[in-house]
Amino acid sequence: MIGGILSLELLISALRMSVPLTFASLGGVFSERGGVVNIALEGIMLVGAFGAVVGTYFTNNPWIGLLTAMSFGFLIAFIHAVVSITFRINQIISGTALNIMSAGLTTFLSRLIFKAAGSSPHIEGMVQWRFPGTNWQISPLIVIMFTVIIISQVVIFKTRYGLRLRACGENPYAADSLGVNVIMMRYSGVLISGILGGLGGAFLSLEHARVFVEGMTTGRGYIALAGMIFGRWTPLGSFSACFLFGLAEALRMRLEGFGIPTQFIQMIPYIVTMCVLIGVVGRAVAPAYDGIPFEK
């Protein structure tokens, strides 16, 4: 039984499970490094999943679907930015409202567009890329994911933009006094998180399910946030954490087949995150001004 469970197949399955989490998690890194907590990621992923299906449904082109997903995610993130940065509303309240809104809106529109409750019709998935000269196939989104991870790591830690973004999360007043436009930087972080969160959602509907199901993210946005914390607000760390969570999910799906209650495996990401927060598995410290509105 153990041999059947632990295999290369499991690792591949874990990688696929981790893709939507990783995208959203990277989004969280950009947003929170700039000082804005983005629990709206759950809603952003959901509209992303929905957007991907809508775009693909009308054009039969998953790449258009991907673009739609990113723009839908961008829109929700934009509202979050306006409400929490410009109006300086509590970021958790804004995020919670947007999650409720996204759940309502996607279901509402899905019923209007597809004239059916529950889920959309099936759509074309992405054409897989083939490694030259072999039979190995890989989803283009996975390639994009690895690219984005590396770019994010470089951008956040090796560029001027990244330095300024981090400054806005650590001490916006100091950044401001040095001439950094804190408001603009924070907007950019949140908007990037919208685009990435939308991509994460798109993977769910375009690759996993090939259909939009109402409320299909089922808390993955929150797991992505957990991954971000576990990964100590860094892109590489977030990916490692999300891969671990993906592994837990892949394992859970295997074990379900054996009739083992899997709820306790389901809890792993949440319990691990709590342990990280209290410093049991190495301490994670958030950016100092994470979640605190900036008032000039």
Binding site: V37, I39, I79, V83, F87, R88, I89, N90, I92, I93, S94, T96, A97, L98, N99, I100, M101, A103, G104, L105, T107, F108, R111, L112, G219, Y222, L225, A226, I229, P261, Q263, F264, Q266, M267, Y270, I271, T273, M274, L277, I278, G279, A286
Partner: protein, 359 residues
């Protein structure tokens, strides 16, 4: 003072009005008459006795959940984990309800008490982690929500699953009769109000009103309340005032979680008489909206809960009698939250400026 009260009432009212205007525009774009849709929404909720019965039934868990969020807010904490506390509290009272066969005089208070204790303890986890390790309660309560949902999902699917059950949603056995909170229609019928027996409105509603009074009394008339508010306003200053903020944080999370646990009672003891997997469906999150709209004030919370109860009831009618999907109501609810929050902030700034100019 009068100006402040006026603004406090005016702002939520305007927010609700604005949200409905946005909804009206959406309905209009879809090619339906917004007035017709809104009329349907109201006719089936507030023009009939039965409609009101359902509205108050819907409002009951929201009142508890709104109180839970508001109490935590007063103590400077954001309890986003009411949803999890509801599941844990509801499961605890169902567990005792299927275990002990006692008389209603003992069973009902016992059920309430266990819902409170277990919901409270679930809340205390986040409170303790905050007080002891400084771990932010928002992330921890979110995590605890999912743990609670998975845990009760396990319990109701395995050790506590009703044998030979037909219902596709997993559920526990039925509670012993001593734990069942009766419906109110016999009383109302005696008073000449014609509520049909099919309306699930039960005495939990009155319990929720009682708890509004208790929470008000606690916050405004007791030492605990004073200390909670002091810590909420400024934990550092309260320490100089001889208050131990860590103790208050744990206390607040217990009380808030206890109120959250009670939000599960309406369904378990008053309606289905068993624990149903996944029954809450976001009541804990709607509580955040209720607390915001009600300005953390018990009367405001009752009014906000009734408004949301009307919306929930009306949403069903919208599905049946119009072509507008009922999820529009959820969108409107979310818009209300955002507008109220923005309104609160703008008014706060306006008042600050007025006070500064007054000096």
């Amino acid at each position: 003072m009068i100006r402040r009260i006026l603004i406090n009432i005016l702002a939520p009212f305007l927010a609700v009005l604005l949200a409905f205007s946005v909804g009206a525009i959406v309905i209009y774009i879809l090619g339906e008459n917004p007035l017709f849709v809104y009329k349907i929404l109201l006719i089936n909720s507030v023009t009939k006795v039965d409609g009101w019965g359902y509205v108050l039934f819907n409002a009951t868990p929201l009142i508890f959940s709104g109180l839970a969020v508001a109490l935590a807010f007063k103590g400077g904490l954001f309890n986003i984990g009411v949803e999890g506390q509801i599941y844990i509290g509801a499961f605890a009272c169902a567990w005792f309800g299927i275990t002990f066969n006692v008389r209603p005089l003992i069973g009902i208070p016992m059920g309430l008490l266990f819902a409170m204790i277990f919901g409270g303890l679930w809340g205390v986890i986040a409170g303790y982690l905050k007080a002891r390790f400084g771990a932010h309660e928002v992330i921890n309560t979110i995590m605890l929500n999912f743990i609670a949902i998975a845990l009760t999902n396990y319990l109701v699917n395995n050790p506590f699953k009703e044998p030979g059950q037909i219902n596709p949603i997993p559920q526990t056995k039925e509670l012993f009769s001593g734990f069942i909170i009766p419906r109110v229609y016999p009383l109302l019928n005696k008073l000449g109000i014609n509520l049909s027996p099919s309306v699930p409105l039960n005495y939990t509603f009155f319990i929720s009103i009682l708890f509004c009074v208790i929470v008000w009394y606690l916050l405004e008339r007791t030492r605990w309340g004073y200390e909670i508010k002091a810590v909420g306003l400024n934990p550092k200053a309260s320490r100089y005032g001889g208050i131990n903020p860590n103790y208050i944080i744990i206390l607040v999370m217990f009380l808030s979680g206890a109120l959250g646990g009670l939000a599960g009672v309406n369904d378990v003891m008053g309606y289905r008489h068993r624990f149903l997997d996944g029954f809450s469906r976001g009541t804990g999150f709607t509580g955040i909206a209720v607390a915001l709209l009600g300005k953390n004030n018990p009367i405001g919370i009752v009014l906000a809960s009734i408004l949301f109860g009307i919306l929930d009831r009306g949403a069903l009618a919208m599905d049946v009698f119009t072509n507008t999907p009922r999820e529009l109501i959820r969108v409107i609810q979310a818009i209300i939250i955002i507008f109220v929050a923005i309104g609160n902030e703008l008014i706060f700034r306006l008042l600050q400026r007025l006070e500064r100019e007054g000096e």
